[in-house]
């Protein structure tokens, strides 16, 4: 047996003995442990001592020294355990009573913003359905915010009063005749993604968008949007409905149904409002609005260089504030941007 082996056995024994002594809950258990490790005849320390003879001669002094150290430590651990057991349950008149109910020093954990929590959950759910996150600039040109999305110059949505157009040092920002503006929807990202890659595409775009609404309990001039886009050879409205059902079922739990109501958006045709079913407290079936959706308009596919005869696509969008507010029963969405820590700490 080499010196290293001997020392490592000693070390293992020392640890095991110390653990056993400190774990002993009463005198009887401690005695059992004492016999196991320190027993004069068949204790395990005794057994290791017998190994000492097998260590090469030149290492014997070092081995002996190690043995004595370990023995001393094991005996000290036993003594400490004995002391512990003898003091507990005995007279404690001189010790102050211990107040178990005093608070511990609480960790000041921070909270992730509720909108971020909602966004992360939606991203996660859509990720499971194969949608990868895409982002793009919040400041856009008219091509990405309007033209490519089938919103012609005469469309009311392009009215300067319906948008935040930008200037820099008093000069209209952007190339001449192509001003810049804060994007009014995240569909701009869909255009940028489609421009940069061939189909199939399966993404969700998300981020801040801006519209000149007066701030009130249900409106804010800046809000967060999540939009999904799938373009492939055989994408249909049945696929759209099925994806939304999987999504809503995952988000709400249970068996959720999807309803389409015809609507109008420039970048989709057909366009629909999406409702999801929900049972109220009385168990009645209710429909709640989820967002807008539709099949990507052939003009949009054409604008990014896709062939509408080759591929079809669907898109859908949700307002994050609305989803989050409903989920957490927040009655005024301005709270999301006020940053009162008493609000933030609730989530």
């Amino acid at each position: 047996m080499s010196l290293e082996q001997f020392q490592s056995e000693l070390e293992a024994l020392r640890t095991e003995a110390a653990d056993a002594f400190s774990a002993a809950a009463d005198a009887a258990a401690l005695e059992t442990a004492r016999v196991e490790f320190l027993g004069a005849k068949s204790g395990r320390l005794k057994a290791v001592q017998k190994q000492l003879g097998k260590v090469p001669k030149e290492d014997k002094p070092a081995a002996g020294k190690s043995f004595n150290e370990a023995k001393g430590q094991i005996e000290a651990a036993f003594a400490a355990a004995e002391e512990r057991l003898s003091s507990s349950g005995t007279d404690q008149d001189d010790a102050a009573p211990f107040d178990l109910t005093l608070p511990g020093p609480r960790l000041p954990l921070g909270h992730v913003h509720p909108l971020t929590q909602t966004i992360e959950e939606l991203k996660d759910l859509m990720g499971r359905l194969g949608f990868t996150v895409a982002t793009g600039p919040e400041i856009e040109d008219e091509w990405h915010n309007f033209e490519a999305l089938n919103i012609p110059a005469s469309h009311p949505a392009r009215d300067p009063l319906e948008n935040f157009y930008l200037s820099t040092a008093g000069v209209v920002a952007g190339k001449e005749g192509a001003p810049l503006l804060l994007r009014s929807q995240t569909s701009t990202v869909q255009i940028r993604v489609m421009e940069s890659m061939p189909p199939p595409v399966r993404i969700i775009s998300l981020g801040r968008v801006y519209r000149p609404d007066t701030a009130d309990a249900t409106h804010y001039p800046m809000f967060q949007q999540i939009e999904g886009l799938l373009v492939d050879r055989h994408a249909t409205m049945a696929d759209l409905k099925s994806v939304l059902r999987l999504f809503a079922s995952s988000f709400l739990g249970g068996d959720v149904h999807i309803r389409f109501r015809p609507s109008f958006f420039p970048f989709t045709e057909p366009s629909v409002e999406v409702d999801m079913s929900w049972h109220d407290d009385q168990g009645n079936l209710r429909w709640i609005e989820m967002g807008g959706a539709g099949m990507v308009d052939p003009n949009v596919l054409g604008a990014v260089g896709y062939d509408p005869e080759e591929v079809t696509g669907f898109a859908f969008g949700l307002g994050v504030e609305r989803v989050c507010a409903r989920r957490h029963n927040v009655t005024d969405i301005r709270e999301f941007y006020r940053n009162d820590v008493r609000f933030l700490h609730q989530f």
Partner: protein, 677 residues
């Protein structure tokens, strides 16, 4: 759009309840906002999307109902008899701005008797929320609500020169509208004028001067078509929105212009008497024939995912007013109705078929092919950043991307370029796109201080907007900003913790920084080494100066930091590789070196680490101690401990002492440090 239940039934026989009808209409595209009783009638409130101006009249809604219930639609023919003089002998019309006024028609009715409307007419208008004025005005409103075509009746005797001139308004031209408000016009506004003055805002509102009253006997009935963009501009400019402007903005049925005029005259003859002048003045664009659109039946399953019988598709299109040109097994070719300007392409026909056939027929349980998706590196890093900052006690805030000028000017470490400005403030005075998040977080601090919240530790992850050339999109850089009530060291510690959560080897390199808003000494520029070893600018950290606190109206000390996300994404070690923990014991040595005040820890520790060599496992700052009596003036003593460990054997005491000695000597040489014993 308020719809009268009784009125609808004039055009279509309905064997369903109003509730059933509302439900059917909603599922076909007219959202039901509510129904309320008015007298014995019901007012059904429908939301009409901007692509469906044809449903801004009862006939349009009745047509939808007829298609959905597969019943016939009855529209009055409107064929009043002209019995008087030729209209051209009684008046004349000139259109000077055909770009704004696409078409103008006029009929004249003479010898009318203005009086109250019959009860049925008053009732109809009451249901849709319009008060009764007199029989003629009520009729124009009635026909508007019947077919969606705005009309106007002028008192012809009050027209100077008995003529109509449609023209641009003159700059500064005054106008008194029938709402009895005065407006000052400019050249962008299209007015209806007589020989002298404006008597109507084309497509928006009539004028008070030529209003119909009890003395009126001779009427000019206007039915016209205006450019939607021009109408929108005028309505917005004057903040004057009417039932007329609302419809012209969305586009009216060009084939309905004359029908509405005839219908109006027919009712006038019936309810106010008089004679209709022979003929009509009709100036401008005549409705052009529409182009045929093909629907390949195979497109229905291709887009919708369900089969729709070709016969059913054809029935729906015809019932909606499309005229079938030809059809075969594969396709049908139709001419869409004049009132549906939104239907011009095959995909539009697909939608028409789908919404009438019913979206409920589309299944919600088809299997969509699976596809892989991945979380981006940026998302993974951000998740760790949020986790680390929350663990360090920071709450995530979200603030507006735009700030007011004072905040914008207060702090802009990333660029000197002027901020981008929004044409109108995003909120209150916030019109500058922010170049730093720090001022916004100090604003949030102020909010919380004023709410007496004791602990305000915030971070935000958002873009800043750094202008480039005037022709370029700005650079949007993702930043992590922090504000804390703790001091410089506390926030630096949090940032070091954040860094080690991303890469255990990453270290902050610090340089002094002079920035407005921040304390002159306690502000730093932060650098990190990224993957390729180069040091890059990460961000800024500093305690807010007294002036800064005052500027943001803060009562308590604050520290701020702002970091670029990009270097963190670059240096993050998301898939750490295992290395075996050390097997041999460590030896530690404490050092206490006296140095001049000018010597900084960062430099001394770098020297010490280099001198200690590879056996130095860690070098930990313990304390700084000053005592002019014992150490001398301008001196300080730096206490730190050195943990030494070799990966090839247990270090002996002598070996450790040698390293210790090397460190002391190197520090003495480089920094004049003296070992204090």
């Amino acid at each position: 759009m308020l719809v009268s239940w009784d009125w609808l039934k004039q055009y279509v026989q309905l064997d369903i309840t109003p509730a059933e009808l509302a439900e059917r209409l909603m599922m076909a595209g007219l959202n039901h906002e509510g129904t309320h009783p008015v007298g014995s009638d019901l007012a059904i409130n429908l939301e009409v999307t901007s692509n469906r101006p044809d449903c801004l009249g009862h006939i349009g809604v009745a047509r939808e109902a007829a298609v959905l219930t597969e019943t016939a639609l009855q529209i009055p023919p409107a064929e009043p008899k002209g019995t008087g003089n030729a209209v051209t002998k009684l008046t004349s019309v000139k259109v000077e701005n055909p770009d704004q006024c696409w078409r103008y028609t006029a009929r004249v009715v003479s010898g009318v008797k203005i009086g109250p409307s019959p009860a049925w007419l008053v009732g109809r208008l009451a249901t849709v929320g319009i008060g009764s004025i007199n029989n003629v005005v009520d009729i124009t409103n009635y026909v508007l609500m019947e077919c969606g075509q705005p009309l106007h009746a002028f008192d012809l005797a009050k027209l100077d020169g008995r003529q109509i001139v449609v023209r641009q308004a003159r700059k500064g031209e005054p106008f008194l509208a029938i709402n009895h408000k005065s407006y000052t016009l400019d050249e962008t506004v299209c007015v209806i004028a007589d020989a002298k003055r404006a008597i109507g805002l084309g497509g928006v509102m009539g004028g008070a001067d030529t209003e119909i009253n009890e003395q009126t006997t001779e009427l000019l009935i206007e039915s016209a078509q205006f450019d939607p963009v021009s109408i929108r501009g005028t309505a917005r400019q004057l903040n004057l929105h009417s039932d007329s402007s609302y419809r012209f903005e969305r586009g009216i049925d060009p084939e309905g212009v004359d029908w509405a005029s005839r219908r109006c005259c027919e009712l006038i003859l019936e309810l106010a008497g008089g004679d209709l002048a022979e003929g009509v003045i009709d100036i401008g664009r005549q409705p052009e024939p529409r182009e045929a659109v093909s629907l390949r039946f195979a497109q229905l399953p291709r887009v919708l995912g369900i089969d729709v019988d070709a016969a059913e598709a054809r029935r729906i299109l015809t019932a909606l007013g499309c005229r079938e040109v030809k059809h075969d097994q594969q396709r049908v070719e139709v001419i869409p109705p004049s009132w549906r300007r939104d239907v011009t392409r095959e995909i539009d026909l697909v939608e028409e078929v789908a919404r009438i056939h019913g979206y409920d027929k589309i299944p919600e349980d088809v299997s969509v092919p699976m596809a892989p998706s991945h979380r981006t590196r940026g998302d993974r890093v951000l998740a760790r950043v949020r986790q680390a900052l929350c663990a360090a006690g920071f709450d995530e805030a979200m603030t507006l991307s735009a700030v007011e000028q004072e905040w914008s000017d207060a702090f802009s470490p990333w660029t000197d370029a002027a901020p981008l400005r929004a044409s109108t403030p995003v909120l209150r005075r916030a019109d500058r796109l922010r170049r730093s998040i720090v001022p916004s977080l100090l604003g949030a601090r102020h909010t919380n201080e004023s709410l007496a919240n004791p602990r305000i530790e915030l971070f935000e992850v958002a873009h800043v907007y750094l202008p480039r050339g005037a022709n370029e999109l700005p650079r949007e850089e993702m930043m992590i900003a922090i504000t804390s009530g703790g001091d410089y060291a506390a926030v630096k510690g949090a940032l070091e913790g954040l860094l080690s959560a991303l890469n255990e080897k990453a270290a902050l390199l610090v340089k002094p920084a002079k920035l407005p808003l921040l304390h002159a000494q306690r502000a730093a520029e932060l650098h990190v080494r990224t993957g390729d070893g180069a040091a890059v600018l990460l961000g800024y950290l500093g305690e807010v100066s007294q002036d800064g606190l005052e500027q943001f109206d803060l009562r308590f000390p604050a520290t701020v930091a702002e970091l670029k996300l990009a270097p963190l994404i670059d240096l993050a070690n998301l898939i750490p590789q295992y290395h075996q923990p050390p097997v041999f014991p460590a030896v530690s040595r404490d050092l206490n070196l006296v140095v001049d005040e000018s010597v900084v820890w960062g430099e001394l520790s770098a020297t010490a680490r280099e001198a200690a060599g590879p056996v130095a496992e860690s070098l930990t700052f313990q304390d700084v101690y000053r005592d002019p009596k014992r150490l001398g003036a301008g001196k300080k003593s730096l206490l730190f401990s050195l943990v030494l460990r070799s990966d090839s054997g247990t270090l002996t005491s002598d070996e450790a002492d040698t390293v210790h000695q090397r460190v002391v000597e190197a520090c003495q040489k480089a920094h004049g440090a003296e070992l204090r014993t």
